[in-house]
Protein backbone atom coordinates (compact mmCIF):
# COMPACT_ATOMS: atom_id res chain seq x y z
CA UNK A 1 0.00 0.00 0.00
CA UNK A 2 2.80 2.40 0.91
CA UNK A 3 4.81 1.39 -2.16
CA UNK A 4 1.71 1.98 -4.26
CA UNK A 5 1.23 5.46 -2.81
CA UNK A 6 4.87 6.33 -3.37
CA UNK A 7 4.83 5.08 -6.95
CA UNK A 8 1.73 7.14 -7.72
CA UNK A 9 3.34 10.22 -6.18
CA UNK A 10 6.42 9.65 -8.34
CA UNK A 11 4.21 9.86 -11.42
CA UNK A 12 2.33 12.86 -10.06
CA UNK A 13 5.36 15.17 -9.83
CA UNK A 14 6.47 14.93 -13.49
CA UNK A 15 2.84 15.15 -14.57
CA UNK A 16 2.41 18.41 -12.74
CA UNK A 17 5.71 19.68 -14.18
CA UNK A 18 4.59 18.80 -17.70
CA UNK A 19 1.26 20.51 -17.23
CA UNK A 20 2.95 23.67 -16.00
CA UNK A 21 5.43 23.61 -18.88
CA UNK A 22 2.83 22.90 -21.53
CA UNK A 23 0.50 25.63 -20.32
CA UNK A 24 3.40 28.10 -20.10
CA UNK A 25 4.56 27.60 -23.67
CA UNK A 26 1.03 27.44 -25.05
CA UNK A 27 0.17 30.73 -23.40
CA UNK A 28 3.29 32.38 -24.75
CA UNK A 29 2.66 31.01 -28.25
CA UNK A 30 -0.55 33.03 -28.26
CA UNK A 31 -0.83 35.73 -30.89
CA UNK A 32 -1.70 39.06 -29.27
CA UNK A 33 -0.64 40.15 -25.82
CA UNK A 34 -2.52 41.17 -22.70
CA UNK A 35 -1.77 44.85 -23.30
CA UNK A 36 -3.28 45.03 -26.78
CA UNK A 37 -6.16 47.10 -25.49
CA UNK A 38 -3.73 49.82 -24.32
CA UNK A 39 -2.30 50.18 -27.83
CA UNK A 40 -2.36 53.97 -27.70
CA UNK A 41 0.34 54.02 -25.00
CA UNK A 42 3.73 55.57 -25.74
CA UNK A 43 6.12 52.88 -26.99
CA UNK A 44 8.47 53.61 -24.10
CA UNK A 45 5.67 53.25 -21.53
CA UNK A 46 4.61 49.97 -23.11
CA UNK A 47 8.19 48.73 -23.01
CA UNK A 48 8.41 49.63 -19.33
CA UNK A 49 5.19 47.80 -18.55
CA UNK A 50 6.39 44.75 -20.42
CA UNK A 51 9.74 44.91 -18.60
CA UNK A 52 8.06 45.09 -15.21
CA UNK A 53 6.30 41.79 -15.99
CA UNK A 54 9.54 40.24 -17.36
CA UNK A 55 7.87 39.97 -20.77
CA UNK A 56 10.95 41.54 -22.47
CA UNK A 57 13.30 38.74 -21.46
CA UNK A 58 14.06 35.76 -23.70
CA UNK A 59 11.35 33.12 -23.59
CA UNK A 60 13.47 30.46 -21.93
CA UNK A 61 14.54 32.85 -19.18
CA UNK A 62 10.88 33.72 -18.56
CA UNK A 63 10.21 30.01 -18.28
CA UNK A 64 12.93 29.54 -15.65
CA UNK A 65 11.65 32.51 -13.66
CA UNK A 66 8.15 31.07 -13.87
CA UNK A 67 9.28 27.62 -12.71
CA UNK A 68 11.31 28.96 -9.79
CA UNK A 69 8.39 31.06 -8.59
CA UNK A 70 5.79 28.36 -9.19
CA UNK A 71 7.73 26.00 -6.96
CA UNK A 72 7.18 28.37 -4.05
CA UNK A 73 3.51 28.76 -4.93
CA UNK A 74 4.04 32.19 -6.47
CA UNK A 75 2.46 32.60 -9.90
CA UNK A 76 3.33 36.28 -10.22
CA UNK A 77 1.06 39.29 -10.44
CA UNK A 78 -2.18 39.08 -12.37
CA UNK A 79 -1.99 41.07 -15.59
CA UNK A 80 -5.58 42.26 -15.39
CA UNK A 81 -6.45 42.56 -11.69
CA UNK A 82 -3.44 44.84 -11.28
CA UNK A 83 -3.33 45.06 -7.48
CA UNK A 84 -3.47 41.32 -6.89
CA UNK A 85 -1.07 38.44 -7.32
CA UNK A 86 -2.44 35.29 -8.87
CA UNK A 87 -1.89 33.46 -5.60
CA UNK A 88 -4.00 36.04 -3.77
CA UNK A 89 -6.80 35.75 -6.33
CA UNK A 90 -6.81 31.96 -6.09
CA UNK A 91 -6.71 32.31 -2.31
CA UNK A 92 -9.87 34.41 -2.48
CA UNK A 93 -11.64 32.14 -4.94
CA UNK A 94 -10.61 28.67 -3.82
CA UNK A 95 -12.55 28.50 -0.50
CA UNK A 96 -15.73 29.45 -2.35
CA UNK A 97 -15.21 26.91 -5.12
CA UNK A 98 -14.12 24.18 -2.71
CA UNK A 99 -17.17 24.65 -0.53
CA UNK A 100 -19.43 24.59 -3.55
CA UNK A 101 -17.71 21.55 -5.05
CA UNK A 102 -17.52 19.58 -1.81
CA UNK A 103 -21.20 20.14 -1.06
CA UNK A 104 -22.19 19.19 -4.60
CA UNK A 105 -20.02 16.07 -4.50
CA UNK A 106 -21.42 14.99 -1.14
CA UNK A 107 -25.02 15.47 -2.26
CA UNK A 108 -24.37 13.81 -5.61
CA UNK A 109 -22.88 10.76 -3.88
CA UNK A 110 -25.61 10.45 -1.26
CA UNK A 111 -28.59 11.07 -3.52
CA UNK A 112 -27.15 9.33 -6.58
CA UNK A 113 -26.08 6.21 -4.71
CA UNK A 114 -29.34 5.86 -2.78
CA UNK A 115 -31.41 6.39 -5.93
CA UNK A 116 -29.30 3.80 -7.76
CA UNK A 117 -29.64 1.25 -4.96
CA UNK A 118 -33.39 1.72 -4.71
CA UNK A 119 -33.73 1.37 -8.49
CA UNK A 120 -31.66 -1.81 -8.49
CA UNK A 121 -33.67 -3.37 -5.64
CA UNK A 122 -36.91 -2.64 -7.49
CA UNK A 123 -35.66 -3.51 -10.97
CA UNK A 124 -38.24 -3.00 -13.75
CA UNK A 125 -40.77 -1.65 -11.29
CA UNK A 126 -42.25 1.82 -11.42
CA UNK A 127 -39.65 3.43 -9.17
CA UNK A 128 -36.80 1.94 -11.23
CA UNK A 129 -38.21 3.39 -14.44
CA UNK A 130 -38.77 6.70 -12.68
CA UNK A 131 -35.18 6.92 -11.41
CA UNK A 132 -33.74 5.92 -14.78
CA UNK A 133 -35.92 8.43 -16.63
CA UNK A 134 -34.76 11.18 -14.27
CA UNK A 135 -31.15 10.07 -14.73
CA UNK A 136 -31.53 10.22 -18.51
CA UNK A 137 -32.98 13.72 -18.18
CA UNK A 138 -30.12 14.78 -15.93
CA UNK A 139 -27.61 13.61 -18.51
CA UNK A 140 -29.43 15.19 -21.45
CA UNK A 141 -30.03 18.63 -19.95
CA UNK A 142 -26.78 20.45 -19.19
CA UNK A 143 -26.27 22.34 -15.94
CA UNK A 144 -26.08 25.68 -17.71
CA UNK A 145 -29.71 25.19 -18.75
CA UNK A 146 -30.85 23.83 -15.40
CA UNK A 147 -29.23 26.65 -13.44
CA UNK A 148 -31.08 29.58 -15.04
CA UNK A 149 -34.33 27.61 -14.90
CA UNK A 150 -33.84 26.95 -11.17
CA UNK A 151 -33.06 30.62 -10.61
CA UNK A 152 -36.19 31.58 -12.53
CA UNK A 153 -38.46 29.16 -10.69
CA UNK A 154 -37.24 29.36 -7.09
CA UNK A 155 -35.71 32.82 -7.20
CA UNK A 156 -38.08 34.86 -9.30
CA UNK A 157 -41.45 33.13 -9.45
CA UNK A 158 -41.59 31.55 -6.00
CA UNK A 159 -39.24 34.02 -4.33
CA UNK A 160 -37.95 31.34 -1.96
CA UNK A 161 -34.23 31.68 -2.57
CA UNK A 162 -31.84 34.39 -3.79
CA UNK A 163 -31.39 34.45 -7.57
CA UNK A 164 -27.63 34.99 -7.39
CA UNK A 165 -24.74 36.15 -5.23
CA UNK A 166 -22.61 34.61 -2.51
CA UNK A 167 -23.52 36.61 0.59
CA UNK A 168 -20.59 35.26 2.57
CA UNK A 169 -21.65 31.66 1.90
CA UNK A 170 -25.09 31.78 3.51
CA UNK A 171 -26.86 28.44 3.02
CA UNK A 172 -29.78 30.08 1.21
CA UNK A 173 -27.37 31.29 -1.45
CA UNK A 174 -25.76 27.86 -1.74
CA UNK A 175 -28.91 25.82 -2.40
CA UNK A 176 -29.44 26.62 -6.08
CA UNK A 177 -25.80 26.53 -7.28
CA UNK A 178 -25.09 23.31 -5.38
CA UNK A 179 -28.23 21.69 -6.78
CA UNK A 180 -27.41 22.73 -10.36
CA UNK A 181 -23.85 21.47 -9.94
CA UNK A 182 -24.88 18.15 -8.38
CA UNK A 183 -27.73 17.20 -10.74
CA UNK A 184 -25.73 15.85 -13.71
CA UNK A 185 -23.46 13.93 -11.34
CA UNK A 186 -26.46 12.51 -9.47
CA UNK A 187 -27.73 11.20 -12.79
CA UNK A 188 -24.45 9.49 -13.73
CA UNK A 189 -23.85 8.12 -10.23
CA UNK A 190 -27.39 6.71 -10.01
CA UNK A 191 -26.86 4.82 -13.29
CA UNK A 192 -23.48 3.50 -12.19
CA UNK A 193 -24.73 2.46 -8.77
CA UNK A 194 -27.76 0.70 -10.25
CA UNK A 195 -25.58 -1.22 -12.69
CA UNK A 196 -23.10 -2.24 -10.00
CA UNK A 197 -25.82 -3.28 -7.58
CA UNK A 198 -27.71 -5.33 -10.17
CA UNK A 199 -24.57 -7.25 -11.01
CA UNK A 200 -23.77 -7.97 -7.37
CA UNK A 201 -27.35 -8.99 -6.55
CA UNK A 202 -27.11 -11.71 -9.21
CA UNK A 203 -23.92 -13.19 -7.75
CA UNK A 204 -23.61 -16.43 -5.84
CA UNK A 205 -22.64 -15.03 -2.46
CA UNK A 206 -25.78 -12.89 -2.36
CA UNK A 207 -27.85 -15.94 -3.20
CA UNK A 208 -26.10 -17.76 -0.36
CA UNK A 209 -26.84 -14.92 2.03
CA UNK A 210 -30.49 -15.03 1.01
CA UNK A 211 -30.55 -18.81 1.27
CA UNK A 212 -29.40 -18.79 4.86
CA UNK A 213 -32.40 -16.64 5.63
CA UNK A 214 -30.97 -13.14 6.09
CA UNK A 215 -33.42 -10.28 5.79
CA UNK A 216 -33.30 -8.07 2.70
CA UNK A 217 -31.80 -5.15 4.63
CA UNK A 218 -28.92 -7.25 5.99
CA UNK A 219 -28.24 -8.82 2.61
CA UNK A 220 -27.91 -5.40 1.02
CA UNK A 221 -26.07 -3.56 3.77
CA UNK A 222 -23.71 -6.33 4.89
CA UNK A 223 -23.06 -8.30 1.71
CA UNK A 224 -24.01 -6.48 -1.47
CA UNK A 225 -23.16 -2.85 -0.73
CA UNK A 226 -19.37 -3.02 -0.55
CA UNK A 227 -18.68 -4.77 -3.87
CA UNK A 228 -21.39 -2.69 -5.56
CA UNK A 229 -19.58 0.49 -4.52
CA UNK A 230 -16.40 -0.41 -6.44
CA UNK A 231 -17.41 1.00 -9.86
CA UNK A 232 -18.59 4.15 -8.09
CA UNK A 233 -15.19 4.69 -6.47
CA UNK A 234 -13.59 4.33 -9.88
CA UNK A 235 -15.80 7.16 -11.08
CA UNK A 236 -14.80 9.58 -8.29
CA UNK A 237 -11.93 11.08 -10.29
CA UNK A 238 -14.00 11.91 -13.40
CA UNK A 239 -16.83 13.09 -11.14
CA UNK A 240 -14.47 15.53 -9.50
CA UNK A 241 -13.25 16.83 -12.86
CA UNK A 242 -16.89 17.16 -13.92
CA UNK A 243 -17.77 19.19 -10.85
CA UNK A 244 -14.73 21.43 -11.28
CA UNK A 245 -15.57 22.22 -14.90
CA UNK A 246 -19.26 22.52 -14.10
CA UNK A 247 -18.41 24.99 -11.40
CA UNK A 248 -17.02 27.41 -14.02
CA UNK A 249 -20.44 28.03 -15.55
CA UNK A 250 -22.31 27.78 -12.27
CA UNK A 251 -20.12 30.49 -10.72
CA UNK A 252 -20.72 32.62 -13.81
CA UNK A 253 -24.49 32.13 -13.76
CA UNK A 254 -24.94 32.70 -10.03
CA UNK A 255 -22.27 35.38 -9.87
CA UNK A 256 -20.20 33.63 -7.19
CA UNK A 257 -16.66 34.81 -6.37
CA UNK A 258 -14.97 31.44 -7.01
CA UNK A 259 -11.88 30.36 -8.92
CA UNK A 260 -13.96 29.43 -11.95
CA UNK A 261 -15.10 32.97 -12.56
CA UNK A 262 -11.54 34.30 -12.34
CA UNK A 263 -10.42 31.55 -14.71
CA UNK A 264 -12.99 32.40 -17.35
CA UNK A 265 -12.32 36.13 -17.03
CA UNK A 266 -8.60 35.41 -17.24
CA UNK A 267 -9.06 33.31 -20.37
CA UNK A 268 -11.19 36.00 -22.02
CA UNK A 269 -8.66 38.73 -21.11
CA UNK A 270 -5.51 36.72 -21.87
CA UNK A 271 -4.37 37.02 -18.27
CA UNK A 272 -1.62 34.39 -18.71
CA UNK A 273 -0.38 34.07 -15.12
CA UNK A 274 -3.89 33.74 -13.74
CA UNK A 275 -4.89 31.03 -16.21
CA UNK A 276 -1.67 29.09 -15.70
CA UNK A 277 -1.92 29.38 -11.94
CA UNK A 278 -5.46 28.03 -11.87
CA UNK A 279 -4.59 25.16 -14.22
CA UNK A 280 -1.57 24.10 -12.17
CA UNK A 281 -3.42 24.34 -8.84
CA UNK A 282 -6.46 22.47 -10.16
CA UNK A 283 -4.33 19.80 -11.81
CA UNK A 284 -2.47 19.33 -8.54
CA UNK A 285 -5.73 19.07 -6.63
CA UNK A 286 -7.09 16.52 -9.06
CA UNK A 287 -3.93 14.44 -8.94
CA UNK A 288 -4.02 14.32 -5.13
CA UNK A 289 -7.73 13.51 -5.00
CA UNK A 290 -7.35 10.86 -7.71
CA UNK A 291 -4.64 9.28 -5.61
CA UNK A 292 -6.99 9.24 -2.63
CA UNK A 293 -9.75 7.64 -4.70
CA UNK A 294 -7.30 5.00 -5.93
CA UNK A 295 -6.39 4.26 -2.33
CA UNK A 296 -10.07 3.94 -1.49
CA UNK A 297 -10.41 1.60 -4.45
CA UNK A 298 -7.64 -0.58 -3.06
CA UNK A 299 -9.20 -0.49 0.40
CA UNK A 300 -12.56 -1.67 -0.96
CA UNK A 301 -11.30 -4.35 -3.30
CA UNK A 302 -8.73 -6.82 -1.94
CA UNK A 303 -7.86 -7.94 -5.49
CA UNK A 304 -6.61 -4.45 -6.32
CA UNK A 305 -4.68 -4.33 -3.04
CA UNK A 306 -2.86 -7.57 -3.76
CA UNK A 307 -1.87 -6.28 -7.19
CA UNK A 308 0.15 -3.46 -5.68
CA UNK A 309 1.77 -5.22 -2.76
Amino acid sequence: MIAFTLRRLLVAVPTLFLIGTASFFLMRAAPGGPFDADADLEPQVLANIRASYDLDKPLFEQYLIYLRRALTGDFGPSLVYKDFTVTELIGIGLPVSMRLGAMAMLIALLVGASAGIVAALRQNRLIDHLVMAMAMTGIAIPSFVVAPLLALLFGLYLGLLPVAGWNGGAWRNMVLPVTALALPQIAIIARLMRGGMLEVLRSDFVRTARAKGLGEWRVVSRHALRPALVPLVGYLGPALAGIMTGSLVIELIFNLPGVGRYFVQGALNRDYPLVMGVVVIYAGLIIVLNLLSDLAYAALDPRVRRQYR
Binding site: A241, I253, V264, L268, V278
Partner: protein, 294 residues
Amino acid sequence: MSAAQPLPAANASSPSLWRLAGRRFARNRAAMASVVVLLLIGLASVLVPMFWPHGIEDASWEYIMAPPSLDNWHWFGTDANGRDLLVRVFYGGRVSLAIGLMTTLVALLIGVSYGSIAGFVGGRVDGVMMRIVDVLYSLPLLFFIIILVTVFGRNIFLVFIAIGAVEWLTMARIVRGQTLSIRHKEFVESAVAIGMPKPMILRRYIVPNVLGPVVVYVTLLIPTNILVESYLSFIGLGVQEPLTSWGLLISQGAGAIDSAPWLLLFPAGFLAVTMFAFNFIGDGLRDALDPQGR
Protein backbone atom coordinates in the same frame (compact mmCIF):
# COMPACT_ATOMS: atom_id res chain seq x y z
CA MET B 1 -27.52 10.36 -38.71
CA SER B 2 -25.44 8.00 -40.74
CA ALA B 3 -24.39 6.28 -37.51
CA ALA B 4 -27.60 4.31 -37.75
CA GLN B 5 -26.36 2.37 -40.76
CA PRO B 6 -22.70 1.70 -39.95
CA LEU B 7 -22.01 -0.61 -42.86
CA PRO B 8 -18.65 0.40 -44.29
CA ALA B 9 -17.30 -1.74 -47.10
CA ALA B 10 -14.70 -3.19 -44.76
CA ASN B 11 -17.38 -5.30 -43.13
CA ALA B 12 -18.37 -7.03 -46.33
CA SER B 13 -16.60 -10.08 -44.96
CA SER B 14 -19.13 -10.47 -42.14
CA PRO B 15 -22.42 -9.07 -43.40
CA SER B 16 -24.65 -11.38 -41.42
CA LEU B 17 -23.49 -10.03 -38.06
CA TRP B 18 -24.26 -6.46 -39.08
CA ARG B 19 -27.51 -7.42 -40.74
CA LEU B 20 -28.65 -9.21 -37.60
CA ALA B 21 -27.70 -6.20 -35.53
CA GLY B 22 -29.61 -3.99 -37.94
CA ARG B 23 -32.69 -6.14 -37.53
CA ARG B 24 -32.44 -6.03 -33.73
CA PHE B 25 -31.96 -2.26 -33.88
CA ALA B 26 -35.01 -1.82 -36.11
CA ARG B 27 -37.14 -3.55 -33.48
CA ASN B 28 -36.10 -1.01 -30.79
CA ARG B 29 -38.87 1.54 -30.97
CA ALA B 30 -37.22 4.27 -28.86
CA ALA B 31 -34.05 4.07 -30.95
CA MET B 32 -35.90 4.12 -34.28
CA ALA B 33 -38.00 7.10 -33.15
CA SER B 34 -34.78 8.84 -32.15
CA VAL B 35 -33.31 8.26 -35.60
CA VAL B 36 -36.39 9.87 -37.16
CA VAL B 37 -36.27 12.82 -34.74
CA LEU B 38 -32.58 13.40 -35.41
CA LEU B 39 -33.08 13.22 -39.16
CA LEU B 40 -35.87 15.76 -38.88
CA ILE B 41 -33.78 18.13 -36.77
CA GLY B 42 -30.84 17.70 -39.13
CA LEU B 43 -32.93 18.31 -42.24
CA ALA B 44 -34.66 21.32 -40.70
CA SER B 45 -31.30 22.76 -39.68
CA VAL B 46 -30.12 22.54 -43.27
CA LEU B 47 -33.31 23.61 -45.02
CA VAL B 48 -35.12 26.08 -42.76
CA PRO B 49 -32.42 28.81 -42.86
CA MET B 50 -32.53 28.59 -46.68
CA PHE B 51 -36.26 29.10 -47.07
CA TRP B 52 -37.46 30.95 -43.96
CA PRO B 53 -38.70 34.50 -44.70
CA HIS B 54 -36.26 35.93 -42.11
CA GLY B 55 -32.48 35.75 -42.34
CA ILE B 56 -30.37 35.05 -39.23
CA GLU B 57 -29.20 38.65 -39.06
CA ASP B 58 -32.38 40.45 -40.14
CA ALA B 59 -33.21 42.78 -37.27
CA SER B 60 -36.63 44.37 -37.13
CA TRP B 61 -37.32 47.29 -34.81
CA GLU B 62 -41.03 46.58 -34.51
CA TYR B 63 -40.36 43.15 -33.04
CA ILE B 64 -37.87 43.46 -30.16
CA MET B 65 -38.13 40.50 -27.80
CA ALA B 66 -41.54 39.67 -29.23
CA PRO B 67 -42.99 36.51 -27.66
CA PRO B 68 -43.68 33.50 -29.87
CA SER B 69 -46.68 34.05 -32.14
CA LEU B 70 -47.87 33.17 -35.60
CA ASP B 71 -47.91 36.72 -36.97
CA ASN B 72 -45.09 37.82 -39.26
CA TRP B 73 -43.48 34.34 -39.12
CA HIS B 74 -41.91 34.83 -35.67
CA TRP B 75 -43.05 31.41 -34.43
CA PHE B 76 -40.38 31.21 -31.73
CA GLY B 77 -40.43 34.96 -30.99
CA THR B 78 -37.53 37.36 -31.47
CA ASP B 79 -34.40 38.29 -29.51
CA ALA B 80 -33.14 41.59 -28.06
CA ASN B 81 -32.11 42.78 -31.54
CA GLY B 82 -35.43 41.85 -33.10
CA ARG B 83 -33.93 38.87 -34.91
CA ASP B 84 -36.17 35.88 -35.60
CA LEU B 85 -35.43 33.11 -33.09
CA LEU B 86 -36.69 30.20 -35.18
CA VAL B 87 -34.23 30.73 -37.98
CA ARG B 88 -31.45 31.30 -35.46
CA VAL B 89 -32.26 28.08 -33.60
CA PHE B 90 -32.06 26.04 -36.80
CA TYR B 91 -28.96 27.85 -37.96
CA GLY B 92 -27.42 27.21 -34.52
CA GLY B 93 -28.41 23.58 -34.98
CA ARG B 94 -26.33 23.48 -38.15
CA VAL B 95 -23.30 24.72 -36.27
CA SER B 96 -23.83 22.54 -33.19
CA LEU B 97 -24.46 19.36 -35.18
CA ALA B 98 -21.55 20.08 -37.51
CA ILE B 99 -19.24 20.61 -34.56
CA GLY B 100 -20.52 17.44 -32.91
CA LEU B 101 -19.84 15.41 -36.05
CA MET B 102 -16.51 16.99 -36.96
CA THR B 103 -15.02 16.80 -33.46
CA THR B 104 -16.12 13.19 -33.18
CA LEU B 105 -14.43 12.48 -36.50
CA VAL B 106 -11.19 14.00 -35.21
CA ALA B 107 -11.48 11.99 -31.98
CA LEU B 108 -12.28 8.88 -34.01
CA LEU B 109 -9.20 9.25 -36.20
CA ILE B 110 -6.82 9.89 -33.31
CA GLY B 111 -8.40 7.36 -30.95
CA VAL B 112 -8.64 4.49 -33.42
CA SER B 113 -5.09 4.90 -34.72
CA TYR B 114 -3.61 5.37 -31.24
CA GLY B 115 -5.52 2.51 -29.66
CA SER B 116 -5.00 0.03 -32.47
CA ILE B 117 -1.27 0.76 -32.65
CA ALA B 118 -0.87 0.42 -28.88
CA GLY B 119 -2.82 -2.82 -28.82
CA PHE B 120 -1.21 -4.34 -31.89
CA VAL B 121 2.42 -3.45 -31.13
CA GLY B 122 1.99 -4.33 -27.48
CA GLY B 123 4.79 -4.69 -24.95
CA ARG B 124 6.60 -1.65 -23.62
CA VAL B 125 5.26 0.66 -26.35
CA ASP B 126 1.75 -0.26 -25.31
CA GLY B 127 2.62 0.32 -21.65
CA VAL B 128 3.97 3.82 -22.27
CA MET B 129 1.17 4.78 -24.65
CA MET B 130 -1.58 3.72 -22.28
CA ARG B 131 0.18 5.28 -19.29
CA ILE B 132 0.03 8.61 -21.15
CA VAL B 133 -3.68 8.07 -21.69
CA ASP B 134 -4.13 7.32 -17.98
CA VAL B 135 -2.39 10.54 -17.00
CA LEU B 136 -4.38 12.64 -19.48
CA TYR B 137 -7.56 10.90 -18.40
CA SER B 138 -7.28 12.11 -14.85
CA LEU B 139 -7.07 15.78 -15.83
CA PRO B 140 -9.95 18.19 -16.29
CA LEU B 141 -9.59 18.40 -20.06
CA LEU B 142 -12.04 21.21 -20.52
CA PHE B 143 -9.41 23.44 -18.95
CA PHE B 144 -7.06 22.44 -21.72
CA ILE B 145 -9.62 23.20 -24.38
CA ILE B 146 -10.01 26.59 -22.76
CA ILE B 147 -6.25 27.16 -22.83
CA LEU B 148 -6.08 26.07 -26.47
CA VAL B 149 -8.93 28.36 -27.42
CA THR B 150 -7.47 31.24 -25.39
CA VAL B 151 -4.13 30.84 -27.03
CA PHE B 152 -5.06 30.32 -30.65
CA GLY B 153 -8.03 32.65 -30.81
CA ARG B 154 -11.72 31.88 -30.88
CA ASN B 155 -11.76 30.37 -34.32
CA ILE B 156 -14.50 27.85 -35.00
CA PHE B 157 -12.16 25.38 -36.70
CA LEU B 158 -9.92 25.50 -33.70
CA VAL B 159 -12.85 24.62 -31.51
CA PHE B 160 -13.33 21.54 -33.74
CA ILE B 161 -9.76 20.44 -33.39
CA ALA B 162 -9.39 21.33 -29.72
CA ILE B 163 -12.44 19.31 -28.68
CA GLY B 164 -11.53 16.38 -30.91
CA ALA B 165 -7.94 16.46 -29.71
CA VAL B 166 -8.91 15.89 -26.09
CA GLU B 167 -11.95 13.64 -26.46
CA TRP B 168 -10.15 10.67 -28.04
CA LEU B 169 -8.98 9.03 -24.81
CA THR B 170 -11.89 6.69 -24.15
CA MET B 171 -11.92 5.77 -27.83
CA ALA B 172 -8.24 4.81 -27.65
CA ARG B 173 -8.91 2.63 -24.58
CA ILE B 174 -11.83 0.83 -26.21
CA VAL B 175 -9.94 0.20 -29.45
CA ARG B 176 -6.84 -1.02 -27.62
CA GLY B 177 -8.86 -3.49 -25.56
CA GLN B 178 -10.57 -4.83 -28.66
CA THR B 179 -7.29 -5.03 -30.56
CA LEU B 180 -5.67 -7.01 -27.75
CA SER B 181 -8.51 -9.50 -27.87
CA ILE B 182 -8.20 -10.19 -31.61
CA ARG B 183 -4.46 -9.79 -32.04
CA HIS B 184 -3.82 -13.51 -31.74
CA LYS B 185 -6.81 -14.71 -33.72
CA GLU B 186 -5.94 -17.01 -36.63
CA PHE B 187 -6.78 -14.57 -39.42
CA VAL B 188 -4.34 -12.01 -37.99
CA GLU B 189 -1.62 -14.60 -37.47
CA SER B 190 -2.07 -15.79 -41.04
CA ALA B 191 -1.64 -12.25 -42.29
CA VAL B 192 1.56 -11.99 -40.25
CA ALA B 193 2.69 -15.36 -41.59
CA ILE B 194 2.37 -14.36 -45.24
CA GLY B 195 4.52 -11.32 -44.46
CA MET B 196 1.95 -8.59 -44.81
CA PRO B 197 3.33 -5.23 -43.62
CA LYS B 198 2.09 -4.23 -40.20
CA PRO B 199 0.34 -0.98 -41.22
CA MET B 200 -1.63 -2.97 -43.77
CA ILE B 201 -2.61 -5.59 -41.19
CA LEU B 202 -3.82 -2.80 -38.95
CA ARG B 203 -5.89 -1.24 -41.69
CA ARG B 204 -7.26 -4.39 -43.32
CA TYR B 205 -7.76 -6.74 -40.39
CA ILE B 206 -7.61 -5.03 -37.04
CA VAL B 207 -9.51 -1.77 -37.49
CA PRO B 208 -12.54 -3.19 -39.35
CA ASN B 209 -12.98 -5.83 -36.68
CA VAL B 210 -12.96 -3.50 -33.70
CA LEU B 211 -15.63 -1.22 -35.13
CA GLY B 212 -18.64 -2.56 -33.21
CA PRO B 213 -17.96 -0.96 -29.82
CA VAL B 214 -16.48 2.06 -31.59
CA VAL B 215 -19.77 2.70 -33.38
CA VAL B 216 -21.62 2.61 -30.06
CA TYR B 217 -19.14 4.98 -28.48
CA VAL B 218 -19.32 7.36 -31.46
CA THR B 219 -23.05 7.81 -31.00
CA LEU B 220 -22.40 8.71 -27.37
CA LEU B 221 -19.43 10.96 -28.16
CA ILE B 222 -21.33 13.13 -30.66
CA PRO B 223 -23.77 14.45 -28.00
CA THR B 224 -20.92 14.81 -25.50
CA ASN B 225 -19.04 16.98 -27.96
CA ILE B 226 -22.13 19.02 -28.79
CA LEU B 227 -22.40 19.67 -25.05
CA VAL B 228 -18.73 20.65 -24.80
CA GLU B 229 -19.18 23.12 -27.64
CA SER B 230 -22.31 24.55 -25.99
CA TYR B 231 -20.41 24.86 -22.76
CA LEU B 232 -17.55 26.74 -24.45
CA SER B 233 -19.95 29.01 -26.30
CA PHE B 234 -21.84 29.59 -23.08
CA ILE B 235 -18.79 31.01 -21.31
CA GLY B 236 -17.92 33.04 -24.40
CA LEU B 237 -15.00 31.00 -25.69
CA GLY B 238 -16.73 29.04 -28.44
CA VAL B 239 -18.72 30.20 -31.43
CA GLN B 240 -18.79 33.99 -31.85
CA GLU B 241 -21.43 36.34 -33.27
CA PRO B 242 -22.61 36.71 -36.02
CA LEU B 243 -22.34 32.93 -36.19
CA THR B 244 -24.48 31.17 -33.63
CA SER B 245 -24.90 27.78 -32.01
CA TRP B 246 -27.26 26.25 -29.47
CA GLY B 247 -24.78 27.00 -26.70
CA LEU B 248 -24.50 30.66 -27.65
CA LEU B 249 -28.28 30.98 -27.98
CA ILE B 250 -28.73 29.36 -24.57
CA SER B 251 -26.21 31.76 -23.09
CA GLN B 252 -28.05 34.76 -24.56
CA GLY B 253 -31.35 33.27 -23.41
CA ALA B 254 -30.08 32.69 -19.89
CA GLY B 255 -29.22 36.40 -19.68
CA ALA B 256 -32.77 37.43 -20.55
CA ILE B 257 -34.60 34.69 -18.71
CA ASP B 258 -36.84 36.94 -16.61
CA SER B 259 -38.10 39.03 -19.53
CA ALA B 260 -38.00 36.60 -22.47
CA PRO B 261 -37.86 32.97 -21.31
CA TRP B 262 -38.54 31.66 -24.82
CA LEU B 263 -35.02 32.72 -25.77
CA LEU B 264 -33.72 30.03 -23.40
CA LEU B 265 -36.47 27.44 -23.75
CA PHE B 266 -36.38 26.92 -27.53
CA PRO B 267 -32.64 26.37 -28.02
CA ALA B 268 -32.41 24.41 -24.75
CA GLY B 269 -35.32 22.25 -25.86
CA PHE B 270 -33.69 21.41 -29.17
CA LEU B 271 -30.39 20.67 -27.45
CA ALA B 272 -32.08 18.38 -24.92
CA VAL B 273 -34.10 16.50 -27.56
CA THR B 274 -30.93 15.95 -29.56
CA MET B 275 -29.12 14.65 -26.45
CA PHE B 276 -31.98 12.26 -25.69
CA ALA B 277 -32.08 11.00 -29.26
CA PHE B 278 -28.37 10.28 -29.44
CA ASN B 279 -28.43 8.52 -26.08
CA PHE B 280 -31.35 6.31 -27.10
CA ILE B 281 -29.60 5.46 -30.37
CA GLY B 282 -26.40 4.64 -28.49
CA ASP B 283 -28.25 2.35 -26.07
CA GLY B 284 -30.12 0.75 -28.96
CA LEU B 285 -26.93 0.10 -30.89
CA ARG B 286 -25.26 -1.40 -27.83
CA ASP B 287 -28.15 -3.78 -27.31
CA ALA B 288 -28.25 -4.62 -31.02
CA LEU B 289 -24.54 -5.27 -31.38
CA ASP B 290 -24.12 -7.15 -28.12
CA PRO B 291 -27.24 -9.26 -27.51
CA GLN B 292 -25.59 -11.21 -24.67
CA GLY B 293 -24.62 -8.04 -22.83
CA ARG B 294 -28.13 -7.38 -21.58
